[in-house]
């Protein structure tokens, strides 16, 4: 009799709670959550052997001729999704995707992240991530009409938005996703929810759950939640600043009490790696045409490749930990947006940081405020590069990156580049309102 406790736990709980369905969740290459539901009768077999499904139906998985794949649920991720009203609760598990032979499928983003985490763990590191996720509520999904025009920290007259956020946070906490802070952001109808750090795999799962919960609760109240990076021109965009740290056993590897900034050699190497490879990984952390409308000056989004301890426009921020809270030493990578695939985004951030540690990249001096006042030429003269200006540029830089190719694996790397080129080509064909306004009359 072989017996694994998490499996027993899942089987018992489904029976005891009288659950009628268990949803199996996984993610396509571009970060959309996919899934299907199975009945309790299928559950034991699914946990043992996985469920066969048609991989050709999933973006970036397989072509038709080799389409059958297996989704193997991870019993450690089993959790109950709070029911809506009188609906009976439904459970969900994240799945690992395998070939029929049982081999892990290299196009599965969860597998990509696991592979990168294994590399870190072989060096004795556990990788933690804590994202701050911004998003908007709009009245519908066809037009970005805000629910209100309340400003930052303005709690008055926010009615439905407050109700939305309250319900969302309760649902997240009930699903074991602890929330650090939440407040009204700068943009109209924009909100931010910060998730308490966790190991990167759980966190990527959490981001997927988070986006689903936020959209579902908005939907229940008749509004639309969007993670589009820049829905309104002239307003703040939505980012996913991500706090990153490495631990060796229970010691924060980024902390050094002897350093004036409290940052260890490992921490500095990690930051240097993020900066060195920033241009190469941007296509992954900012993967839509629209992402680059956010990465412009004037809206606290990063544009130059530099780091600082306290500057809202630096690409990497190194917050000074409070005395006695040394284990919270971390670096904040500020370019990612919430439309990314979290598994792939965490993978490339980790790979860039590890490269900095392994290759011993030297960390450039902290950016001073005048960097942001310099002209482009002055910055270039000082060796301060800019992030890619468009999806096209980002994909070009990514294509030449052996670091990203290795981190994502050939399958995901090739598919991603093909898909994003096609997205750019489709965008290129458009004639925008801006062009009509600017040229139609005068030319």
């Amino acid at each position: 009799m072989t017996s694994q406790s998490p499996v027993d736990y899942v089987l018992h709980t489904v029976e005891e709670r009288g659950l009628k369905f268990v949803r199996l969740w996984f993610t396509d290459v571009l970060g959309s959550l996919k899934g299907f539901a199975i009945t309790p009768a299928e559950l034991e077999g699914a946990l043992e052997e996985g469920m066969t499904f048609d991989g050709s139906a999933i973006d970036g998985y397989t072509r038709v001729q080799e389409s059958d794949m297996i989704a193997v649920p991870d019993p450690n991720t089993f959790d109950i999704v709070p029911g809506r009203g009188d609906d009976s609760p439904v459970a969900r598990m994240f799945c690992d995707i395998r070939h029929l032979s049982g081999e892990p499928f290299s196009g599965d983003p969860r597998h990509v992240l696991k592979r990168n985490l294994d590399r870190a763990s072989a060096k004795g590191f556990t990788f933690f991530a804590g994202p701050e996720i911004e998003y908007f509520y709009f009245r519908s999904e066809t037009e970005p009409i805000p629910l209100d025009n309340a400003g930052f920290f303005d709690l008055a007259h926010t009615g439905i938005a407050n109700e939305l956020r309250k319900r969302t946070i309760l649902a997240l906490e009930a699903m074991g996703i602890p929330v650090e802070y939440s407040f009204h952001e700068n943009g109209p109808s924009q909100h931010e929810i910060d998730l308490r750090y966790s190991d990167a795999l759980s966190m990527a799962d959490n981001v997927q759950t988070f986006r689903t919960v936020v959209k579902q609760i908005a939907n229940e109240l008749g509004v639309h939640a969007t993670f589009m990076p820049k829905p309104i021109a002239g307003a703040f965009g939505s980012g996913m600043h991500t706090h990153l740290s490495l631990f060796e056993e229970d010691v924060n590897a980024f902390h050094d009490p002897g350093d004036p900034h409290g940052l260890s050699k490992i921490g500095k190497g990690f930051v240097a790696g993020l900066l060195h490879h920033a241009r190469e990984i941007t296509a992954v952390t900012n993967q839509t045409v629209n992402s680059y409308k956010r990465l412009i000056e004037g809206y606290e989004a990063p544009t130059y490749i530099c780091w600082a301890r306290n500057n809202e426009s630096a690409l990497v921020r190194v917050p000074t930990p409070r005395r006695g809270k040394e284990s919270s030493t971390r670096v904040e990578f500020r370019s990612p947006d919430p439309a990314c695939n979290p598994y792939l985004a965490f993978s490339v951030m980790l790979a860039a940081g590890l490269a900095g540690i392994e290759e011993g990249y030297e960390l450039a001096p902290e950016a001073t405020n005048n960097i942001f006042e310099m002209s482009k030429d002055q910055r270039e003269a000082q060796g301060i590069a800019s992030l890619p200006q468009s999806l096209a540029e980002a994909v070009d830089v990514m294509e030449g990156s052996s670091l990203v190719a290795e981190a994502l694996g050939e399958h995901v790397f090739d598919y991603f580049i093909r898909n994003k080129r096609a997205e750019w080509d489709s965008y290129k064909e458009q004639v925008t309102t801006w062009e009509v306004d600017r040229y139609l009359g005068s030319l």
């Binding site: 017996s3 406790s5 998490p6 997240l172 009930a174 229970d250």
Partner: protein, 234 residues
Amino acid sequence: MSDIAPTEPLAIFPDPPPPLLAQTLDLAGYPWKAVSNAAVAIQQEPVDGWAGAVISAEADPEAAFGICRALRKRDAPVDRVLLLITGSQLSELELREDLFDDFCLSPFHPQELEARLHHLFFRTGRTTGPEIVEYGALILNLETYQAAFGNVPLDLTYMEYELLKFLVTHPAKVFTREQLLSRVWGYEYYGGARTVDVHVRRLRAKLGEEHAGLIQTVRSVGYRFGQTRGAISR
């Protein structure tokens, strides 16, 4: 004694067993089979299950507790697990009460070992009801893995459940992160003690505002479950 001895074998660790142990069991009429680790103990289990186990923690306590864990932490746990330990290992027993039924100090006296085994087998057949642990309104059914506040079920992941079970069954005691990691996650976990903080925070989130305080942070030490007085911080 053989009137009470089982027909199925006992699992014995280590492999080969100390000669005196093998001899004592043979003389008392207990069939046995030596196992070298937890995986073997599971693979070689007879169809009707092990009659019990005598596990010596003397030479390799980590492997010994690993076997106990494999035999106990499952659907149909082995009922009669006897540990052989040295006097200096007594402290190892603390917080592992659920992994064994009785222990015997080693070097052991053959008659004492036999008497203890006899006593364990004498208790056979007495069925116990579902194992329920209660703390205030919090109820854990250890048999069905369900936790609830009164009638309201608490939806937990497996590790959250295991952590809560451990804390509820050891109330008012302070545990370091390392203790929790080794007792709840087991030795094989590599993630580091930071994992404990992450899970405690998740568990508090699920307990909800009203009950989150049941798990208290004891500054620069670790965690404690339950209501207590004194200097605590959350």
